[in-house]
Structure formats: structure tokens, C-alpha cells
Symmetry: C3
Subunit: 154 residues, 3 copies
């Protein structure tokens, strides 16, 4: 099994600092060997780095970057909880919510902005399941929210 921490170094990827909660909730909860994460947004701290809807203010390329930023936040949050990403056995589940205009149709491409990062870090033999949904709006008017569940070693 490839080391995710080593892979991050090889890819010269620096994880961002932790995003901050916007209400009465935690960023992570572990139950047994499942680690559940709060829905990740493309924030730095509490500040959104992408604003608007896909197909309106933002195009698919920007959506991919926003998805990647949310995925990096997920990794930062997981590392903070676990100490090291190498305690992640695999990514189990990723649920993507994309804030979209009525006629946006490029959902899988945007989600791949995050899924391809996860593939690069954890390897193609540890891909997750995925759902992708186009919604009306997301907190702070961001374009992408990702719910991630990890399986971790105890």
C-alpha cells in the first residue's frame, strides 16, 4: 500500500490549514474504523475562495479547482484527526454537491477535480464510491461541497 504522506511530498502538495466550523458541529467524528467528515467547502479558514454557481459565475474548470481545494481541506482535516494520512486504509465514500445553474451538465468532470486528487494520493486501487448531485445553493455561496468518509486503521 502506497504511503499517502510520501505521495503528497512527491507531488509537492502542501495541505492547507484547517477550515473553521460555521456552527455547532465538529470537523470529524470517528465511529469504530469509519472516519466521517463535515461537508468540505473550497474555503481557506472561514473564507470562500470560489463564489457563485457552476454554469453561471463559474465554469467547469473553476469548478474542478474548487473541488480540488475542498478535497485538500478534507485531507487536512483527516490528518489533523489521525496524525498521519497513512492511517487511512481507504476513502470509502465521496458525495459531491454542486451549486449549478439550470442548464449545467458537466457534473462528473467537476467532481473529478477532487476524485483525481484522491486517486493521485491514495492510488488507483483505493478509489471511493461517489455520488454527484446538482443543487440550488451551498453555504457561503460556494460552488462545491464534498462529504467524505474514510476507513481507518485502529
Amino acid at each position: 500500500m502506497v504511503s499517502a504522506e510520501l505521495k503528497l511530498k512527491t507531488l509537492s502538495i502542501m495541505l492547507p490549514s484547517m477550515p473553521m466550523p460555521l456552527g455547532a458541529y465538529e470537523m470529524t467524528v470517528q465511529a469504530g474504523n469509519l472516519l466521517f467528515l463535515t461537508g468540505m467547502l473550497p474555503l481557506k479558514g472561514r473564507e470562500p475562495q470560489f463564489i457563485g454557481k457552476l454554469g453561471k459565475e463559474l465554469n467547469a474548470k473553476e469548478g474542478r479547482e474548487a473541488a480540488r481545494m475542498a478535497a485538500l481541506n478534507a485531507l487536512a482535516v483527516a490528518r489533523k484527526h489521525l496524525g498521519s494520512l497513512d492511517k487511512i486504509k481507504r476513502i470509502v465514500r465521496t458525495s459531491f454537491f454542486l451549486a449549478v445553474s439550470n442548464d449545467f451538465i458537466d457534473h462528473p468532470n467537476v467532481a473529478d477535480g477532487a476524485s483525481e486528487l484522491f486517486r493521485d494520493v491514495f492510488g488507483a486501487d483505493r478509489l471511493s464510491v461517489r455520488s454527484v448531485v446538482g443543487v440550488m445553493s451551498l453555504p457561503l455561496n460556494t460552488p462545491v461541497e464534498i462529504e467524505v468518509t474514510f476507513e481507518v486503521t485502529l
Copy 2:
């Protein structure tokens, strides 16, 4: 660990009677120590107590009350399954779906109507992870649906 049942009494919170299914599904399924709940709406029995979309027919304050009512239904359903809320180790995950108008932006505030109830009942050291999404519409034209997963003692 604080007793959730005692806390309910201290706060003079009476749980409502069980909401009724609207189709071919159960209100609860337990798998190991995870207790999964059907998406909770602001119903009494099968009757919606809040109708409409946030930012249109309903404002954020009403949305908070609707979220709190859905959360109380979640507790009623969990108690029915478990016998006592004191068998809940913690709330693991809460997913909020808010039916919103196009320009509604107060998602985290509405979700806190439920999250703050859970914090008051289970304590600030047992907060859940959370995702919040603004959607087009919900069953029975209600403004809030909450999916809750609990970790329970076996």
C-alpha cells in the same frame, strides 16, 4: 458522559410522537453500532408543520424552528428504537437539506436550529459532523430534511 434523558427533563423538552412513513421504508435501521435514521421532516405524524421554501414563504427564524422540530422527531425515533437516548454514544453525522429560493444565503444559521438542540441534549463534547445543502424541494413541500446517524452502545 451526560445523560441525554436527564438533560431533556432539565430542559423541559417533551419529545413528539413518532412521525409516520410516507412509503415502503423504515424509520430506523441499525447495523452494528451505527443507527441510521430516515430523513426527518418537520412533521407531526404525517402532517407538515412548516410549508414552503426558505427565502420565499419562510424566513431563517422559521427555518430554525423547522430544523429543531425535525431534530426532535429524530430523537423520538431514536428513543423508540433504543428504549432510551442514553444508549446513544454520540451523534455521528447530520446531513441537512434545505428547500431554498434562489437567493437564500443563511444555511448554517438554519441548520444550527437542530445542531444547537443536539448540543444542548448531548453536550458540546459530542457534536456531530455536518453537511448543509440548499435544494429545490423536499417531500410534502417542507423546508428542512435531516439525515442523522448515531453511534450507539451494543
Copy 3:
């Protein structure tokens, strides 16, 4: 416990061939005794069989058929992973995302197109929990996406 494989034969239900991924993800991930599935669409292979939104291009009856097709895909994917549906202890959780027009109100009826199939195959004593949400749009402009989690025997 009724045999789901036998029940499929009795009901003369043939499962479709596997749907194909649209990006960097897997169709199934098992963690312990939980089997998580990618969001299922009403596809054959990669080809959508229903296009459009409920309440606009499609009515509730077509929505029920689309939901049933997505549910059959879920069974095909689960059988591929497990070898036999008889390794399923029960369906734990089903999350329905319905692409809807602004005034569509028949969400539970559409979801029952899938829930009733699951009831017929696994029996009324093994129903799942359920959430149903009306959203803006789904991948490939399909009207229904279902996220399914199974509890399986190890």
C-alpha cells in the same frame, strides 16, 4: 430470511449488466460489513434511459420506472461485488435525489418505484431507511440518483 436470489427468479426479474463509471471512482467499496455503492442512475452501461426533470419532461410514473431501473443497477452492482445477493443481510440506507421542476410534489411516490422493488426482493421485514430530496440536476441529465448502503455477511 427469504433468499433474494430466489425471489428475483420467482419474480422473473433479470438484473442488467453493470453500469460503467463516469470518472475516477469505484462502483462499490466495502468497509467491514457495510457495502457502499456509487450513486446509481437509470443507465444501461453508460447510456441514460430517462432524460429530463420530473414535473417537466417526465411525469411521476416515468420517474418511478427510472427509480426502479436505478435500483436494479444497484442490485447488479451488489451481486457483482458479493457473488450473490444472498450475502446481503439487509439494505441499510437509501438516499434519493430527484431532478425536479420547481413545482413537482410527488417525491415519495417516485422513490417508491425503487423502495417497492427492494421490498419485493428482500421482504417487508428488511426495509431500509430513506431520504428523498428534490434537486436541480443530476449527471447526464437523468431524473433519479440513488445512494444505497447494504449490510452484508462477512
